[in-house]
Amino acid sequence: MITVNTEESPWHEGMTVRALLDEKVFTFRHIIVRVNGEYVAEEEYDRHAINDGDDVMVLHLMAGG
């Protein structure tokens, strides 16, 4: 299991940030991803592996006021 935005979520072998975002249907154009607190740049999504037990934070980029 991994944690995604404070909730437990299933993990599978070979999971990448991109795969997780697709599975969770994060649809905003721009999002901020942190794995175990470490920022993951968008160009790393396809190759950044998510390991069992990781804590993933996904924020939508919002700036309206």
Binding site: N5, T6, F28, R29, H30, I32, R34, G37, E38, Y39, A41, M57, L59, H60, L61, M62, A63, G64, G65
Partner: protein, 239 residues
């Protein structure tokens, strides 16, 4: 201070705290959606001095969510509407209306003499200017932002630079609100949480540090994140 207008603030706010609030000075950067609700709530709470900063005039597209906008004041300065509104709601509050865009050059002057600054801006680059100015002035910053059904709030103490963690290296991007729109209740919810943070900060009640609260009005969910102390992001904000 035993004014009847603050009777229903008691006992959530003690008479001593109410008197203290009257001595406090805040500055709201941005007087649109978030800024209008913040003015309303902080003024009704009894904050003694509120500076509002915004260069804009009201447009028809503001009417869906901006509390201070109305059909008669379209084309009028937002900060002027703020001053008139607070004169009607609570004339005990001094409103300093400044019709200017905050920049790196004028930010320190705009924050001068204030105990707290409220981020009611509508873009990311200006938020980093504000964070730097608040850090330099050594005053706390209450951050808020909205997009569609979602909003976020985060208290930021001087030097924490939490916007770097929230926005990563996306400082030049526009927020999602240009796609999702901005809804009145999301703005009201977000501003209300910012007002709560403001009250706690001004009264030294202690607020959770390094926490980002996300709200999703569609899912009826609140999610609280702990923001890490160290970060690998290369984005260090603008000076």
């Amino acid at each position: 201070m035993e004014l009847e207008r603050y009777l229903r603030n008691q006992n959530a706010i003690s008479p001593q705290e109410q008197a203290l609030l009257a001595q406090k000075r805040v500055v709201i950067i941005g007087c649109g959606g978030l800024g209008g609700y913040l003015l309303e709530q902080l003024g009704r709470l009894g904050v003694g001095f509120i500076r509002v900063v915004d260069p804009d005039l009201f447009e028809e597209s503001n009417l869906n969510r901006q509390l201070l906008s109305s059909t008669p004041n379209l084309g009028k300065p937002k900060v002027l509407a703020a001053k008139h509104r607070m004169l009607a709601v609570n004339p005990l509050v001094e409103v300093d209306a400044i019709q200017v865009r905050m920049t790196a050059e004028n930010a320190s002057d705009l924050l001068a003499g204030c105990d707290l600054v409220l981020d009611a801006l509508d873009n990311i680059p200006d938020r980093f200017i504000l964070q730097q100015a608040a850090k330099t002035a050594q005053i706390p910053l209450a951050h808020g932002a909205v997009a569609g059904w979602q909003g976020q709030v985060c208290p930021i103490l001087p030097g924490q630079d939490l916007l770097n963690l929230i926005y990563g290296d996306c400082q030049e991007y526009s927020g999602e609100e240009h796609e999702t729109g901005t809804l009145a209740f999301t703005v009201g919810l977000t501003a209300s949480l910012m007002a709560a943070i403001s009250l706690q900060t001004l009264l030294n009640k202690g607020i959770p540090e390094r926490k980002l609260l996300l709200l999703d009005a569609q899912k009826l969910e609140f999610t609280k994140f702990s923001l890490p102390v160290s970060s690998s992001t290369q984005w260090v904000g603008r000076d």
